[in-house]
Symmetry: C2
Subunit: 364 residues, 2 copies
DNA sequence: ATGAAAGCGCTAACAG
DNA sequence: CTGTTAGCGCTTTCAT
């Protein structure tokens, strides 16, 4: 180590300086830092990882899509991870990937990550398959828990059912007799949660449970679903499992001569950036991607660095229903007064310079 | 190394098996593989990197946004990188990040990556600043070249000007006297290219160059721009630098009582998944993110593994104008026959189950 | 408060 | 075809 020689100290001392270890005199520290500067030295992380057994990196498994949700989550994770002093390794697994999440996790383990984040897990149990993952580092699952074994398994961002309930109740409060659901692909736990929240709400209110239409998150699938729905005798209210599908759905309804929200109310999910600017501006549930990622990561890092301590508890993410112009009371039947009151907000349609906090919002 | 002992061979032989090196008898190979299986052995990448001096990983610098473009590029990169046998390290840099791209690159270098991808570079030269990056591994810049020094600097996906030309010409061919431009933030090279392509086209056709309105990629900024444009006496044709802004723009125009495309034609850029399903379906330029990422990475890996060979040449990405219903000939003035012919396509508005190839498209 | 010595698990460069 | 001998650049452990 040239730096050590230049500074006239031992290798170990240089190491101490770099790691902010105690017991280094100010003078020595300064000399070392100077030598480092002069030589343009940067420490070798591979060697560090080898010697210490920790790579100071966290692996993320994402779906190989540019879908707003997964992409936002990934960005959220990246944003936090650097502050914690860890590096990020990313592997993605496409739907239909033969090796799937297991393969992705494996490749991360190969890389020697200290912890793993599984963003948006999907159910990959084949016809018979039981994928029992076994991992020897802490894992954070963003969305819902798959069956895996690890020293610590944390979950975060699994409040989708509550949010789905909020969306559904919004529609019910508006006076709609029932609410249809345009679900996401049921292999995704996130999609299941939303479906479940919707179902539970209707059941709790003693409403009829219309058949579920399943899409694949894409606007195209929402469009197809809308065509179907319109043909089958249009519903008065639909809760779509994401905004893209909601947009496709609205398009199909519009083409079928149905007006939104006068004839059909539509609620989306995510609050993608354009949601406020389409016609009509979309009522939707905002997902707190950043908060979820941030909080989850904090807990993961804690678990990595304190293997024996109790894991940090999760906190409930806020539910943020953004009411815009795609929802209204049903036109063709008597509306209960209560609902009408709730719904009588004018101007829901003007997307003012979208306030950071999402404008009109309510939480039940 | 337990595996070596169990298989009754030397450590080096195990190494050979793992690296698919020649000169290993089938029998020995089998024995090693068995031992590996039995012990659940996985090789330590840190040690490998330390000993070999190569980390077999590629670093990506992204902007910390969930913007469709950057996110798609990242996904595209990830999708290819695993096939090449490399791992991906991701660092992002938010706009306004003090350390900026330089800091991101630095942290990647710290991690010992073998190559770097800079996705969507932005100009970070401050009031005075000259950021002369010096990197000792090959770099691929997706979008346009910043000032950096590296053994190899590859660029890809810098065909935005050509695409912008296509968009602008489409509008001109429709018979519009001139075309306004809703530009992206000019710190982004991608935004500059589009602006340049637009400007060059108008100039080449001897048209008037209307003042440029600059947005920040968001639908919100497009909305604000639309309000401005409508107040200043509406244009008949606008080319927006991305779809999100186009959507905000259309919203503002609509609220101002202007019809799209009857009063104003709008062309977007990117072809985001919902573009075909908004009202009206958006005419836009599809960006070949996947192709760009894939080809670029192939070239980067080549440069990494053949430091002395000539870098692979880039190939021109296809230009794909997707004509939908947001563009039409201008209503209020005589339209040249040529343009009218080009434009007389009925049904541009029906988003059929979006064909893989994007439906109606043309290239000049 | 500092240093010396001993590896971490692998691959490189040569033998055989 | 296979084995031996050295490190890669750091952290660890134990002295001092």
């Amino acid at each position: 180590m040239d730096v050590a020689r230049l500074a006239g100290v031992s290798q170990k001392t240089v190491s101490r300086v770099f790691n902010d270890e105690p017991y280094v005199s100010a003078d020595v520290r300064r000399r070392v830092l100077e030598a480092v500067e002069q030589l343009g030295y940067r420490r070798n992380n591979a060697a560090r990882a080898l010697a210490s057994g920790r790579s100071r990196s966290i692996g993320v498994v994402t779906l190989g899509t540019a879908l707003y949700g997964p992409a936002s989550l990934l960005m959220g994770v990246e944003r936090v991870v650097r502050d914690t002093g860890y590096a990020l390794r990313v592997v993605n697994t496409m739907e239909g990937d033969p090796s799937g999440v297991a393969g992705a996790v494996d490749s991360l383990l190969d890389q020697g990550v200290d912890g793993i984040v599984i963003s948006e897990p999907i159910d990959e149990t084949g016809p018979e398959g039981e994928t029992a993952l076994r991992v020897d580092v802490p894992v954070l699952v963003l969305g819902a828990p798959p069956g895996l074994t690890a020293p610590t398994v944390l979950t975060a961002g699994d409040g989708a059912d509550v949010m789905a309930r909020t969306a559904t109740e919004h529609l019910l409060n508006l006076g709609h007799p029932t609410v249809h659901h345009l679900a996401g692909p049921q292999r995704w736990y996130a999609a299941r949660d939303r479906l479940e929240g919707w179902r539970a709400t209707l059941t709790a209110h003693g409403r009829e449970l219309p058949p579920v239409v399943e899409g694949d998150w894409s606007a195209a699938s929402g469009y197809r679903a809308g065509l179907e729905l319109a043909a089958d005798g249009a519903p008065t209210a639909v809760f779509a499992a994401n905004d893209d599908m909601a947009i496709g759905l609205i398009r199909a309804l519009t083409e079928a001569g149905l007006r939104v929200p006068q004839d059909v109310s539509v609620v989306g999910f995510d609050d993608i950036p354009v949601a406020a600017y389409i016609t009509p501006p979309l009522t939707t549930v905002r997902q707190p991607f950043d908060t979820v990622a941030q909080e989850g990561l904090k807990r993961l890092v804690h678990a990595i660095e304190n293997p024996d301590a109790d894991p940090l508890p999760p906190s409930d993410p806020p539910v943020d229903l953004v009411v815009r112009a795609s929802t209204a009371p049903p036109a063709d039947r008597t509306t209960p007064a209560r609902a009408r009151r709730t719904a009588s907000r004018p101007d829901g349609g003007t997307p003012a310079p979208r306030p950071r906090n999402g404008g009109p919002s309510s939480r039940p």
